[in-house]
Symmetry: D2
């Protein structure tokens, strides 16, 4: 008996098939079997730099068609959602084209290389009324949802302090060459991974209003390309420490560091309230530490992810089995597809990603001037 699928199809057009493209493709493939969505994502077209790469990736990733012309993908009537995993400098033209075509736009972070560009994209999307979403996938972790619930419910009292960090070591070695990551516009540790801890801080505690930052370049020059003996100076930060004051009055600090020897994924925070605290590190992504008690039984509790922390249960009914990084992308895609189907607002949308970028740029400005800087647009 053949299957008659009653759910309406939603056509996916994916631009890019590198690490993130593969991750998107896999999420679109898996999401229907894990979440009960109102529609059925169909992998329509995959675009990449050349016909050959696009074709091979499309075959491997299960897309019906392929192209080396992303504009065709955007315009294709079977494509409802345009997923952009191309280099950052291309996000703007691709997103603007997709917006012009009335498509839902799902863009990898950062939204663009500058806040000015991100603003242009945001305003175009809002004018057109299309659904947008940006890939800050670490926010999708059920443990982050739990942290937010604990914070907003008042379980740990009034929030008083924040200490955040995103530290990795992928740029530690002086042998890592220049790339888009070290481009003056849009490059640097703060823009690349600092944006993750900023988006997480905002998700948990609201807008960062003011900041004072200090940036340093640790690896002063890098090969111009992999294996090259020709080295060129690095003009972006490897490490930034920043003081932050939130709109709510909460104060604290954060660090972005991509030359942090020994750290692979220390996207972490400790948030302190008058009655308790929560602490998290992506190095232990399936647990949240919570302190609430007083007296002889008080202590930080290690809460392990389980089906009591939605949407963990979509992946596994039993606690302690652990979600992985790719699962966070599946959750993100489920929310994207839901937003698309309902015509609602995705989160984080272009507007949110714009403010993250403005926060990054305020920190960069502070690092240059040595003075406190107010993030624009935050009251």
């Amino acid at each position: 008996m053949g299957i008659e699928t009653s759910k309406p199809a939603v056509g996916i057009g994916l631009i890019g098939s590198g690490f993130m493209g593969k991750c998107h493709a896999n999420a679109f493939r898996s999401v229907g079997g894990l979440f009960d969505l109102p529609v059925r994502p169909v992998a329509e077209i995959l675009a990449d730099m050349t016909d050959e790469v696009a074709q091979r990736s499309a075959a491997a990733l299960g897309f019906k068609r392929s192209t080396s012309d992303w504009q065709k993908l955007v315009d294709d009537p079977a494509v409802d959602i345009v997923a952009i995993t191309a280099p950052n400098v291309l996000h703007e033209p691709m997103a603007l084209a997709a917006i012009a075509a009335g498509k839902t736009v799902y863009c990898e972070k950062p939204l663009s290389t500058t806040a000015a560009s991100a603003r242009k994209m945001t305003e175009a999307a809002e004018a057109a009324g299309v659904v947008t979403m940006v890939g800050f996938n670490f926010l999708r972790n059920p443990m982050i949802g739990l942290a937010r619930e604990i914070i907003t419910s008042g379980e740990i009292g009034e929030i008083t302090g924040f200490r955040g960090r995103h530290a990795e070591n992928y740029m530690s070695s002086p042998d890592v060459p220049h790339s888009f990551r070290t481009a003056i516009e849009g490059g640097g540790a703060l823009a690349d991974i600092g944006s993750h801890i900023i988006s997480m801080a905002r998700y948990l505690l609201g807008p960062i209003a003011d900041t004072c930052a200090d940036s340093h370049t640790i690896v002063r020059d890098r090969p111009v390309s992999a294996g090259s003996s020709h080295r060129a100076p690095v003009e972006v930060d490897d490490m930034t420490h920043a003081l932050v004051r939130f709109d709510s009055g909460v104060a604290g600090s954060l660090e972005a560091n991509w030359a942090a020897s020994g750290r692979t994924m220390d996207l972490s925070f400790e948030i302190t309230g008058t009655k308790g605290a929560v602490a998290f590190s992506q190095e232990f992504m399936n647990e949240l530490r919570l302190y609430t008690g007083v007296g002889a039984r008080a202590g930080f509790k290690r809460i392990e992810a389980g089906s009591q922390h939605p949407p963990y249960g979509q992946f596994c009914p039993a606690p302690g089995h652990h979600l992985g990084f790719n699962d966070l992308k599946v959750i993100e895609v489920a929310q994207l597809v839901d937003a698309h189907a309902s015509g609602g607002t995705g989160f984080p949308d272009f507007r949110e990603a714009l403010v993250v970028q403005e926060t990054v740029e305020a920190m960069q400005e502070s690092a240059r001037s040595g003075a406190w800087v107010t993030v624009p647009g935050v009251s």
Copy 2:
């Protein structure tokens, strides 16, 4: 441009669409985008108890067809691999039918409810020369592969001791009703999860030759069904502690406990050698602790999973991003498909699963008799 996929298709027939069925389906969907396989898995037919369930699951999980008659699935010429996630008591007839049809058989653990049944299945499969694999998916963890490499390479010297455990708390509550898990044949903590730590111990240290075990029933009676006020006695173990001696001369102990309050997934071990030690717990599935040094810098090292630990890199190029439980199933399916395509031997195959079952039964016999028992078939 339409995609012409040059890789030959391999038809998948999946029996069962519960937790494990979903997990299998998702793995077959994802595997092609993550691993470079010689063939292309195609989700052909899904079988479940009723037409309705089967049809709905097939639609959700992306299968072309559905059926409520598993025999039809087994016989279908488009089906090359039969994946069995049905209740344990059905494993034997399903597997025997699939073997008779010359299909590759992929069976969830336990292979069957008794060693006698498992032996029948194993002998049939070996006589027919079909590829078999059993779903001891925790073995697929790159960190377990690393542990094995460390042990077999002699990095920690000659192995001297083993301490293992699989402890969870899903049967802690006296409100959890009777089910196949509490059936006299094939039920109990030792059979259900003790088999995981036994299979892992064998994978890392070779055969367990002798054992002396002590089993206890903690929840003495349970509701006959969910919510029922009628309770019936429990006749299987909730907790078993066992002394073990390996064929190699290594000695140690292990525990199986499904009423271990506070534990969600403590599938763990510490293996000690003359020059070091390795320690692991599935609660921290993306890390392995290794001790090798001496002197003022000695200490247990926390090694985080990364692309230097294959096949982690198939999922993510960057370390610290974490695999999840479902990813382990994808790795298993990749190895299954490879074994099928090459006509080679899967691991763990029916033979291995049979010996795990025999080890379980030796422990059960010891728990009854109070004496040491030799595992049959182990020299």
Copy 3:
């Protein structure tokens, strides 16, 4: 102005000034400043093997007098408490002499090298009605007191399981020579450190009634003395795993291992109840992990020692400052001096140490016979 100390003096006679002797001396010196005792310990006489050693140690450790004749120390009218830190084989004659002299006897563990000898000492002490105490100092940890309170109060429900261990690596190296530790009588890992986890298990859960053990010698021969090239076979255990059943019905396992590469002080347990669990390791001696909750906030809590856990506050008013190993000895000495002053019963007294020794010997017998053994004297 000279100080008139109104508290009555209690004279201390210390036999031995090695590691443990030093530890005793320091505890007797410090205890008065940390605890409000009814009496004032005065360091009267120190005895050691030669006059020279005794004199030098007495000077360093603040004793008034010294001797190489322990019998004189025992008989000295100024000595009220005899503290024995001499080699294990001398515990019996020294204790019997002190008992005969009507002194309070404070003896390092093990009480003696055999249960027969320990029984003789115990019966003599009980007949004479003297106060006795044996140095199982790990029991003095405020966190162990907290664990006991949690267990006995029913906070974690009815106890269902025990998993204990004392693992260190001080005998790992084949270069460690023979010594009293490897003597056939009283030697081996089980007697040396297994006695600690046995005494702790008894303190927390009551008597061990039955046991089945498996002992192994890892380092088969050792130098007859330090640096010697002449090696002699080792006839005691380096590692013992044991199944245990408590008088209360609780079951579990324990391990003693002094060749556990990578472990310095893993005196640890996990005790599971129907409503929760407690876990501890001496490697983290200032914390106890407690699981009690259910639902979305459940998790193991890390309770740090503080003044809410007596007698921590005697050492420091602030939590998190940590007690050390030597502080445990001070607590023990405070309890000894209290028991002496009140004429009450010390704990653990000779009787308790005797039963620990009998439990050790039951395990040794089981390891020889391969059968379950009942610990004598336990109902």
Copy 4:
């Protein structure tokens, strides 16, 4: 035989017998039995506020004499070392008197309530040529010594980043009343405990040259005294976050927070170098985490304190037995007595404590002005 102690006596005069006084007294009593010192500390006189308190404390803590007049103690010819544990405002007059009397001065931290006062004390001590030492006892931890050795030896390459913190929760509750801790001069979290992480940062990485800080008062008013219903505003910081740049070029951040719910003693740091990293928290004071490797075996190593990390072995020959907080004071006193006996320089001396205080005040100034501030006297 009576003991003739050949070592010369050094007379100790202790001012104050609160928590810290008790801690000093105990350290002076114990140090001779644990360290092989050139001289023998003798507890001569204890001074406290009233004759009664002084007399009782002297008796309890083993001092020969007592007084309520600290000037007499300072002038007493039998007193060689003056230990000051009185309220911070009294440190200056007491120390100046002791310096004038030519005594070695051992002062609890902070050296004084202001840098101006501390400078006066420092200059007087240097002019008089007396030995001084200030009680930053956390520096005495063998693990901190190990960290310093690792850093200075180049084992983790060139240092690139610092992240430090001292967070506790003893002022979290709004019921904690005003005290010297909340005095405008010398009060606040930064002065009270921030000074610890500053002294540690300096010990490990050298002078902090520039800083930009942000201070916040979390508990806005407190009872004027314990239990009072009359509340007065708090004018000092509960929490300060600061950016720091070291003289060496290393950059980073630190936090002082005494209202950090859930934290009892998070005096912690992570120091990153081009080839590795070290991390420490006083919550785990007997371990240092070290990252140095690359490749498939890289990971943070948990190094446990042992006799290979001097002077751990003075307390216990075996690793893993743990030092406690009070032991750190004993180490400090051993170094004090050594410096006194040799006439050498103590560390940290008054000069070092002065610069710590100047660093605190630079941060306070920055918090007021919102601008970066250069620490005076640092090149």
